[in-house]
């Protein structure tokens, strides 16, 4: 057996030289002081390959056109087996990649590893940083939800304001007029066709240069014998990669990535924000108004990139111990402080939930329920019905499965049963439910809607909507208003409220209807602040 293996590997080595190549790669000499601080490049490379892997998997179920992108992503997240995990890995992998690339850069910067003859290695690294950011920028549009759409509108507008190049950039991004199919095709094309090969070539160039010049030695290394890359450094790289992977995987499982409403160019209440790593740029922009705006949007970022590229030429001092590079530490500290300050300011100044964001990556069947049925969910939860009843999930419980059509009864039967369980079902252990008739009506209305197919989806109705519907029912809003086809048409129908109203407007309208719509016959509803929040959120969640 061993002889055959040796024969085969011998053949491959003779014909391709693969073994020698791997040997040369692994037994590369590295300075004695190299160690944990050199892991970041490998982790970044691993994350890049992971992004490619999950990206390809996503592409297998994704239709890159504005007409279908959103639906296909929703399909991936809600229906395809394991789809949510793959998407979350891709989403958080992108964020993690930014972090790791930044750490890699900071390490090289602090140690002055960009100094002669490694200037080109550094510049290739800066190019890789920009490419990483370009992935973030182009990938942001691809879910084609509101967040993606509005974020990209701002990006394209900024590009179009560049001096001289503006109109050309705008045309290149397909953003003339409005964001639509052309921009989408350009962004998708860049994200999956242009950037990956360019990045791959750049990584090859970067790694080639690292190998050509060797890992930058620290002062003192010249007197010590060199080490081999394998096994010690490979071990450290592997442990770091594994740690990064575990964190990423845990985030993909535990930290939810929402999918917002389908991109809606007519939504006037949406507050666009870029992804977290661009927030500092977004905030910088706010400091410059009018004709100075391009200072924040174009000039400063360009200067910053230029400064990064030129770092090896700006710092031409001799190599020092890292502990003596005070200026470098100062620069990194200030950069971090500036970045953190701007990001914090951007987060602090983001208006809180101007519109209600529904997570469309979760089941949204509840959106179709009438307020009464929604309120029924509320009573169902308050009365803890599910402690004795299974609801389509097949769990063995004392009471019958309420989603089972075999026990389907009329509303009248249910209400009578709720009041005195044992009279209709002799021997029933169910306690009577102490609710008013209208509340029992709501509960029955919800139970009538249950089927084994929609049970878990309806159970997933978010608390704000359920509580909002309870307030809606308690105040008999349906006596004048129409929601999902149920109610009266005395007042305006409430579906699609999010299109023309925001929370502040609704809240004022509840308190002083006359002030907001003069002549209205709507009475005042001075809700408590928490009730106001709930009812407004519910109304703003109602679909078109």
């Amino acid at each position: 057996m061993m002889r055959i293996v040796r024969h085969v590997t011998g053949w491959i080595e003779h014909r391709t030289g693969l073994e020698t190549a791997i040997r040369n790669f692994l037994y590369e000499e590295v300075p004695a002081s190299s160690g944990w601080r050199h892991i970041f490049g490998s982790v970044a490379m691993f994350l890049f390959m992971l992004q490619a892997f999950t990206g390809i998997l996503l592409a297998f179920n994704y239709a890159p056109t504005p007409g279908e992108a959103y639906n296909s992503l929703r399909y991936i997240v809600t229906e395809v087996a394991g789809g949510r995990l793959i998407r979350n890995l891709h989403h958080w992998g992108a964020s993690m990649m930014i972090v790791v690339v930044a750490l890699h850069m900071a390490q090289v910067f602090l140690f002055g590893a960009y100094k002669k003859p490694r200037e080109a290695t550094w510049m290739a690294g800066v190019a890789l940083l920009l490419l990483t950011l370009a992935y973030g920028l182009t990938g942001y549009l691809l879910p084609w939800d509101n967040r993606a759409y509005w974020g990209t509108v701002v990006t394209v507008q900024i590009a179009s304001k560049a001096p001289f190049l503006g109109p050309y950039l705008s045309r290149l991004l397909g953003g003339e007029g409005a964001i639509g199919v052309v921009t989408f095709a350009r962004f998708y094309g860049m994200h999956v066709l242009l950037l990956p090969p360019v990045t791959t070539m750049m990584i090859i160039a970067h790694v080639y240069l690292v190998r050509k010049h060797g890992i930058a030695p620290a002062p003192g290394d010249e007197t010590k014998p060199m080490k081999k890359f394998y096994p010690e450094q490979v071990y450290k790289d592997t442990v770091a990669i594994f740690a990064a992977f575990v964190i990423l995987f845990a985030m993909a499982v535990a930290v939810h990535v929402p999918l917002e409403r389908l991109a809606d160019p007519t939504d006037t209440t949406y507050v666009p924000r870029p992804d977290w790593y661009f927030l500092f740029l977004f905030q910088t922009l706010k400091f410059f108004e009018g004709p100075l705006e391009i200072v924040g949007s174009i000039v400063l970022p360009t200067l910053a990139i230029l400064a990064l590229v030129l770092v090896p030429f700006l710092d031409r001092g001799r190599v020092r111990r890292v502990t003596q590079r005070y200026a470098a530490f100062g620069v990194v500290f200030l950069a971090l402080l500036g970045w953190a300050g701007l990001t914090a300011a951007a987060i602090a100044t983001t208006p809180k939930t101007a519109a209600v964001e529904i997570d469309f990556s979760a089941p949204t069947e509840w959106l179709q329920l009438s307020p009464e049925e929604m309120a029924g969910i509320g009573y169902f939860r308050k009365e803890n019905c599910s402690s004795c009843h299974a609801v389509g999930d097949g769990g063995a419980k004392i009471g019958p499965d309420l989603a089972n059509t075999a026990i389907r009864k009329s509303a009248a039967w249910m209400i009578a049963h709720f009041k005195r369980p044992a009279t209709l079902v002799p021997g029933s252990m169910m306690p009577p439910i102490q609710l008013s008739d209208s509340q029992l009506n709501a509960l029955a209305a919800f139970l009538l809607k249950l089927t084994p197919q929609n049970a878990s989806a309806l159970q997933a109705a978010p608390t704000f909507a359920v509580e909002g519907a309870l307030i809606y029912q308690a105040n008999r809003c349906g006596a004048c208003h129409l929601v999902n086809g149920v109610g009266m048409k005395v007042g305006p129908p409430l579906n699609g409220t999010f299109r023309h109203r925001n929370k502040a407007w609704l809240a004022r309208h509840f308190r002083e209807p006359q002030a907001m719509s003069p002549g209205t016959i709507m009475p005042r509803y001075p809700f408590t602040p928490s009730d106001m929040e709930k009812i407004c959120s519910y109304l703003l969640s109602l679909p078109d």
Binding site: L57, N71, T238, I241, F242, F245
Partner: protein
């Protein structure tokens, strides 16, 4: 060093497993049990298969497409209709009715079937698949296609 191989093995497994599930497992089924009206039973000729063309909704990934599809309907009696799916059970070619020989003929590899869909000759491994059928108020309703059992 075995730790290196071990950690890479773990990463590989943690990626290969979800990726295989993602690619090879069926997506969660959206409930879609639809009955489509295809014809009026009274208008079907008895004993001779009739080609019915109708529209039905098909769940296609993230889309539900309305597409034209065919069924070969054979009226056995006013209360019993057999509706055959239009693909040959060999390799999926569309077969047609040969009125002279009173049998279905698949043009690809010359499988032939009886009006009820039984294999008479050729490489077809099992009888023609049938639609689920319901007759309500004289209307023929077709449901999903049920794969036929292979002949013993």
């Amino acid at each position: 060093m075995s730790v290196i191989y071990g950690l890479w093995g773990l990463i590989g497994a943690a990626l290969a497993l979800p990726a295989s599930i993602y690619l090879l497992f069926p997506p969660k089924l959206r409930k879609r049990e639809e009955w489509t009206e295809a014809a009026e039973v009274a208008k079907l000729a008895p004993k001779t298969p009739t080609e019915l063309v109708f529209r039905h909704n098909r769940v296609d990934g993230w889309k539900i497409t309305s597409e034209r599809t065919t069924a070969w309907a054979l009226k056995v009696s006013d209360t019993e209709v057999i509706a055959l799916a239009p693909q040959c059970t060999h390799l999926g070619c569309a077969y047609h009715w040969d009125d002279g020989k009173r049998q279905f003929l698949c043009p690809c590899h010359t499988s032939t079937f009886s009006p009820e869909g039984k294999v008479l000759s050729g490489p077809a491994p099992r009888p023609l698949d049938r639609y689920e059928v319901r007759i309500e108020q004289g209307k023929l309703l077709l449901g999903k296609v049920v794969e036929s059992e292979s002949a013993e």
